[in-house]
Structure formats: C-alpha cells, structure tokens
C-alpha cells in the first residue's frame, strides 16, 4: 500500500488521464456535495420544524388554586387558598434547572378599558416578560412587557389585536394612553395570538403594576411554567411528571392542604400536545434517515458503476500489463488504489465544498421551516468513508475479474 513506486505509477496514470480522473472525481465530489447539502437541509428542516413547534411542544405546567374540600391538620374545609409571590419564587428557585419560561399572573376577568370615546370590557392580566413565550404571543407592533417594566411598576400595557381594533379603529395605538378604572396606561405593544379573538381580547401589564393598581398586594392568581424540551418524548414525560408532582406537593405543604385534596390546588401539564410534536419530529427524522441512506446507497451504486466502466475501458491495458509481467494482484491493487485515492480526494473536496456552501448560504435562508442547515462534520466524514469503502468493494469485483481473465482475451479487447 505504501509502495512509493506504486504511488508514482498511480500518480502518473492519473495525471496522464486527466479527463477520466476529472470525471470520476467530479461524479464522486458532486455526489458527496449533494449528500452534504441534503443532510444539511434535512437537519435545517428538522431544526426549523422543531423550533416552529417547539413553543407549543414545550410542555407547560399551569398552577392555580381553589377552595379546600378536606380538613387537614385542624384546619376546616372550605378555606380559599391564595398563592403569593413567595410561592412563585420558591418554585423558580427549586426547579430552575428544568424550567425554561416562567410567569406569575394577577388577573381581573373583566375590566372596563377606555380610549377617548371608545370603551370595552376585557380581561386584564398582570404578567411577567416570559409570558410572551408561554402564551405564544406574537408581537405585531411595539414590544412586550420587559423586566424594567416589572421592577419599576411601570404603567404600561400590551393590548391584544382585538382590543386595538375596538378602541383605536385602525389608528396607531403605540404610545397612546388607555385608561382603566381611571388609571392611565401607556400602550407599548400589540400582540396577535394563535388562539384567536378570545385570546386577543386581553390587556397585559406588568404583574407588579397590576398588583398595585388593583390592590392585589402580594397575591397572584395563577402561575405558568414551561419545561425545557428534552431529546425524546419519554424523557419529557418523566421530567414533566416529576416537576408537576414536585410543585403540587410543595404548595400543599406550604399551604397546609390535605395530600388527597384535588380541588384546593390544580397543577396541569400539556403532555398530550407535546406527544404530537415529538412524534412529528420523530417522523421527520425517520424520513431524512431514509432519504440519507437512500442517497448513500445511490452513491455507492454510482461509484461501483464508475469503477465498472473504468475497468472495462482498461481491459486491453490490463492485458498489455499482464503480458509484460504484471501479477493479477498488482492489477487489482493498482485499480483499487487509484480509485480509492480519487474517490477519497474528490469525496473530501465535495465534502468541504458542501460544508462551505451550507456555511455561507445557510444563514441567508429566510424561511421559518429551514433553520441553521448544518451537517455534523463527523457524520459527513463517515459518509465519505462509507462511500470510499463501498466504492472500493464495488470496484474490487470487476477489478478482480479483469485481473483474472487470460491476457490473450484481454489483449483482444478493443
């Protein structure tokens, strides 16, 4: 294999057969190139779809309270459980590793909102900045509530599209003041919600502002968290159940609720939703695996085919070499070494070209369903080696046969 003379002979052959070398190399390089692009875009589509649905897939946990139905530790049933800021903070601290977005809510179910002569009754909700992602609110204009709004109890509001249409009749609401029970709030943003009109009939403001304005003190009505996306559904289920159960127990303990009281506190998670998304992502993965394997097989067949043609074309040359004293194994070795060299070299070239293209073009793609088209370098390299190896095996058979035929038969080949 590392015979210098052999390599010299091979380089000579390759450089003197530039067209053949070029064409072989081109077909291998373009095969790998296409494969890399395909793998890249499949991962891009996978990323895109995942991120599109990730928001919904993220398994969210909602916590709200009611009235106790069971006596416990000397306390009577019929007691209203009130969540406090401290409850929210405790959970955030305790489950920080597993939670992605978190928000507490202070909600007034119907509030009269005025702008000039227009008015309407809407749900008023004090929220935290993360709620934008928890509720999937799509900011259409302006911005969402941010941290400094919350810390500074700022009198700002983000209104749903329905509210904007009702009160502003198409005028730009940003920077205008709406009034709520005589208090003015500056509109800083308008949102759309995939949930539709009902979810867009809502006015959101910093939770601290809402608590102050509506005499809420430290009270919160409910809390929502999202659990970080795991790699697969089973993990997600396990994690989500752990966290859900943990939260429920913690609150029952701090608020002295009977362990079997089901109405004093409810902790819900949306696992079903997540299951669908996970299975969608799994399907996409499977499809691209299928396509990828198909492409590799096509590549292997292609390389094998090229080898077959090359060997056929060189039959006479093989005859001449044998007449001059080449042993069969040196013929096989020559053909294999040549082809492995060419496929390896051009395969790596195609690999680099494909990676470079993904690198430069990837970021320019503006589609929600294709994101960060990338190929894991090791995967791509493995693919090249599979192709080279399979090509060598596919080439070995015709090379071996050509080396075996009697020189006189090979010499007669035209």
């Amino acid at each position: 294999m590392f015979d210098v003379e052999r390599w010299q002979e091979i380089f000579e052959t390759l450089s003197k057969n530039k067209l053949r070398t070029f064409l072989t190399g081109l077909s291998v390089a373009s095969g790998i190139f296409i494969l890399v692009i395909l793998l890249g875009f499949s991962s891009g589509i996978q990323n895109g779809v995942t991120s599109q649905f990730e928001k919904d897939a993220t398994n969210s946990i909602a916590v709200w309270t009611g009235v106790t139905t069971k006596g416990y530790k000397g306390l009577n049933p019929g007691r209203r459980i009130q969540l406090k800021n401290q409850d929210f903070d405790n959970i955030v601290t305790k489950y920080d590793d597993n939670l992605e977005y978190k928000s507490a809510f202070y909600t007034i179910w119907g509030g009269l909102v005025n702008y000039k002569n227009e008015s309407g009754n809407y749900r008023i909700q004090g929220v935290m900045p993360d709620n934008q992602f928890i509720e999937n609110a799509d900011i259409h204009q302006g911005r969402f509530i941010n941290h400094s709004d919350v810390i500074g109890n700022k009198k700002v509001a983000v209104i749903g599209n329905k509210v904007s249409l009702d009160l502003f009749k198409g005028d730009d609401p940003i920077g205008k003041d709406i009034s709520l029970y005589g208090i003015n709030f500056k509109v800083v943003g308008v949102f759309f919600d995939p949930g539709g009109e009902r979810d867009e009939s809502k006015v959101m403001m910093p939770i601290t502002t809402a608590q102050k304005a509506f005499n809420g003190g430290n009270d919160i009505r409910s809390m929502m968290y999202t659990v970080k996306m795991s790699d697969n559904f089973n993990e997600a289920v396990k994690l989500s159940e752990q966290v859900t159960l943990g939260i429920e127990n913690d609150i029952k303990e701090t608020h002295i609720i009977a362990p079997d009281d089901t109405s004093a506190i409810r902790v819900n998670n949306t696992l079903e939703e997540a299951r669908k998304i996970y299975s969608l992502v799994d399907t996409i993965k499977a499809v691209f695996w299928f396509v990828g394997i198909g492409t590799i097989i096509a590549g292997v067949v292609g390389v094998g085919n090229i080898m077959l043609i090359i060997v056929k074309e060189r039959t006479k040359e093989i005859g001449i070499r044998k007449a001059l004293g080449a042993v069969p194994m040196s013929i096989v070795g020559m053909i294999l070494q040549e082809s492995v060299f060419v496929t390896m070299f051009s395969g790596l070239f195609g690999l680099v070209a494909g990676l470079a293209l993904l690198e430069f073009v990837g970021p320019l793609i503006e589609s929600d369903f294709i994101k960060y088209p990338q190929v894991d370098f090791n995967t791509a390299l493995t693919t090249v080696f599979i192709l080279v190896f399979a090509g060598a095996i596919a080439g070995f058979i015709p090379a071996y046969r050509a080396a075996k035929i009697k020189p006189i038969v090979a010499l007669r080949d035209e």
């Binding site: 003379e5 000579e12 052959t13 007449a323 001059l324 004293g325 069969p328 009697k406």
Partner: protein, 233 residues
Amino acid sequence: MIQIKDLHKSYHMGSNSLHVLKGINFEVKEGELVSIMGSSGSGKSTLLNILGMLDEADEGSYTLDNVPIKNLNEKIAANYRNKFLGFIFQSFNLINYKSALDNVALPLYYQGSPRKERVERAMHYLDKVGLAPWSHHLPTELSGGQKQRVAIARALASDPKVLLADEPTGALDTKTSYEVMELIQGINDEGKTILVVTHEHDIAQMTKRIVNLKDGLIIDDSMVEQVRASQYV
C-alpha cells in the same frame, strides 16, 4: 531453448469445438531466428500465444529454457513472462497515455527495478532502436514503424530469453517492414532467440529457418539462406 512435444489446442464455442493445434512437435535452439508461416487460420497466433504463456495448451509439453511450463498459476506465469519473454504485436499494444520512454520502462517496473534504473535502461533501448529523440512522445504522435520500434525496445527492455513477434510487420508498409526486420536481425545477431509469425515470404526469407503450419500441423521445417534486410533499406 524451446521444446514442444505433441501440443494440442482446441477452442470451444458453445457446443462446437475447433481443433486448432493437432500435435505440434518443435524445437528452437538458443540464438535462432525462426519464422512461422501458414495460411490464415492455420494456428500460428495460437501457437505463439501458448509459447508466450498468454494462453494455455490442452495437451502436450512445453519446456522453456529447461523450465517445464505446466499448470502455472497466474503469478508464476506473470513472472516467467516478465523474465523470459518479450512480445511484439501486430497492433503494437503500446499504452496510449504513456510516453515512449514510460512504455519501454513498464516491464522493468514489474521487474521491480528502481525508477532511476528503469529510466536509464529504457533510454538505452530506445536509443538502440533509434528513437532516443522521441522518448517523450506519446504513441499517438508516432508513425506505425516508430510505434513498432518502441514495442521492440519494450520487448528488449527486460532482457528476455526469447522474443515472440506476431506479424510485427503486418501493419507496416514494405520499406518500414524492412527497417523493422533489420532491427530484429541485429538483435538476433547479438544472440537473442526470436520467433516471428508472418504471412510474407520476403519477411520469412530474412529469418534463418521457416516453419510451415497447415491445419494445425507442421508440414515443413527448413533452414534458409538469410537475406539481410539492410540491403533493401
């Protein structure tokens, strides 16, 4: 140098079989220049290919330089071809993408000599056939006569015991044929054993012995007064 006894060879095509060589007995001594003649299809090339170990006989014995050539595996056959034999073909059989020099050097590559030595020896033999200035030309840039001379240089390069030439002048005009024969005679003068298959009487007359084949048998085998090709050139 060569001893053949009762050599038989048949070709099988489907259910038909064609008995081409029907018991050839034949001996060639070192330094001979033998021509093999006979009508088309009489089995000349078949005989030569068997002598060259490019093909195998069905029956009979063949001894080359006191080595019995029998049931050789491919590797040994390749080795013997490389060491003992040089081939000259009607259609030259040069490798198209290799220069004249590289073509001549190829048998030396299979002999395992180092590159420097290959180039030197190849150059020496190219010079011997008068083609030193053409060493870097491709076969496509050479005339028929020049190609055949490159082939002769290649056949000589590995310093074989026997040269086998199957109609070496078959593709050449008369003048060029004589030039090639002059070269072959010169090589024979230096002591090399040479067998030449030919159709042409004038070419046969330039050898020292003519073997006549007919229907797979030798019908005539006689020494001739050698005509020197140089007198025509």
